[in-house]
Amino acid sequence: MLVLNNIEVIYNQVILVLKGVSLEVPDGDIRALLGANGAGKTTTLKAISGLLKEEDGEVTDGSIEFNGERIDKKSAEEIVKLGIFQVMEGRRVFEHLTVEENLRAGAYTRKDKKNVKSDMEMVYSYFPRLRDLRNRVAGYLSGGEQQMLAIGRALMARPKLMLLDEPSLGLAPLLVKEIFEIIQKINKEEGVGILIVEQNAMAALNIASYGYIMENGRIVMDGPAEKLKENPDVKEFYLGLTEVGKKKSFREVKHYKRRKRWLT
């Protein structure tokens, strides 16, 4: 179980980006983290995976725990070894490596190297297209194929928890559907917990059991996915079910409804 307890993140010692974020992902659960551009979703994932340190970012307050162990001061390498794997925004496959080499790179921290071959087969069974492309240089794959590779590569590390940053980015709707179905299948069959960040809120809430909505570095709402999907404000601002012409921020909505307690 992953627990973020009121974390604060500062970039370059001055830029306060996360202002007290709390969330949790129980083992084997799928949870969605939604929010507008610049809300701090990617920053949250990087804080968990330890990649923040590379960008001169720091968790300055609160704590991140994974299965009871504090991880907010650990290096990215140690965190991968503990079983958390981030699939970064924009796929980030190793362009000049072949598909198979990319998968091997994903298995880099594995101690049980003898199982790598069979896990590659497992990845190919989720993404049959990758099998045909396995000797192809990854940079020339289509966007969808690269996203499959990025997820497959994560799977090669046999993580307990996967952090997916906008897997639907730039993909055609049909492909988004396909990839989300596979994500769901991976979660069921391999028992991998998933924290998914998405602009495509509907797709994410359809597979998640629980969702968090983030704005301006804070979680402004959270609840079971079914309830979030029904919530009129979520519908309006994140599910794109709004009448055109309205340009209020979520904050304003919250303001005029401030008496109302969300989702209780």
Partner: protein
């Protein structure tokens, strides 16, 4: 014809040394974007180390060869740890300045320890020529060629198939993504320096066996620039093939043209070829093209 083949073979040998030194250079550049101006000093140190062990300590050559490689690994790790690692995140120009400083420092160290006069290895590979078809080639050339080809093959396989080799290429491609796989980028940098020091040392030992060594061997670091630019700064196969091409061209050019120009053609020839090739292929012969997809 015989003269031509002779030049070709010695060119190949010279080229194989270029290939190795260039390989180290490219590795460091590829993984960490650092242009290593101290590559030539690594050649120098490797050569002197082996010479010192063989001549002064009377260690059999084969053992001192292996010990030199071990020493080179340690030296590579040490340089990375002491000088390069503290510079991670600093402007790339500062890092390059640092390697220039490192080059002066290492050269000074060699002068202090071993002086400046030319020294020769005891005859390990016979200079006695053997007849290959219609040409006679000194055995030391053949051994050098064989040895460097063995090393080049080993390292090519290493990058292609081992986990750390794949990790090194992955890091060269996308450092942050490599980090997200749990690949230790620091370890990759250290490996790059270790391998660079090893190949440089092998190059130095071979050169020493052919011509003897003195401080001017360090110039190899600069003479390898046309090689890496020709092959493409970020391409390992490019470094190897570029090494052979430049070695052969230099030798042929100086063999045939030096009499007319009174020498010095060797140094110019490779740069002439370099300019011509770059006009046709700006990323070098094998430079990785930026893969762009939208």
């Amino acid at each position: 014809m015989q003269y031509f083949v002779q030049l070709l073979v010695t060119g190949l040998v010279l080229g194989s040394v270029y290939a190795m030194v260039a390989l180290g250079f490219v590795l460091i550049y590829k993984s960490s974007s650092v242009i290593n101006f101290a590559q030539g000093e690594l050649v120098l140190i490797g050569a002197y180390m082996a010479l010192w062990m063989t001549v002064s300590l009377h260690i059999p050559f084969l053992i001192s060869f292996v010990l030199t490689l071990v020493f080179a690994v340690i030296l590579g790790f040490a340089i990375e740890r002491l000088f390069l690692r503290p510079m991670i995140g600093e402007p790339i120009l500062s890092v390059i300045m640092l390697t220039i400083g490192l080059s002066a420092f290492l050269k000074g160290l060699v002068i202090i320890l071993w002086g400046t006069e030319t020294r020769v290895f005891p005859e390990i590979f016979s200079q006695e020529p053997v007849k290959l078809g219609f040409v006679r080639i000194s055995q030391v050339y053949i051994w050098s060629l064989v040895l460097s080809i063995i090393f080049l093959v080993i390292f090519t396989l290493f990058f292609k198939y081992t986990d750390i080799g794949i990790a090194m290429r992955a890091t060269a491609d996308d450092q942050t993504a490599a980090l997200s796989m749990g690949i230790s980028v620091k370890r990759v940098f250290a490996m790059a320096w270790a391998v660079a020091a090893v190949v440089a040392a092998v190059g130095g030992i071979l050169l020493g066996n052919i011509n003897g060594i003195n401080i001017s061997v360090a110039q190899f670091g600069l003479r390898v620039f046309p090689v890496v630019i020709l092959g493409g700064l970020d391409s390992v196969p490019g470094a190897i093939i570029g090494g052979f091409i430049i070695g052969i061209i230099e030798n042929l050019a100086s063999g045939y043209l030096d009499p007319y120009f009174g020498g010095g053609v060797r140094e110019v020839a490779s740069f002439v070829v370099l300019v011509i090739i770059l006009m046709i292929k700006p990323y070098g012969l094998f430079g990785l093209e930026r893969i762009e997809r939208v």
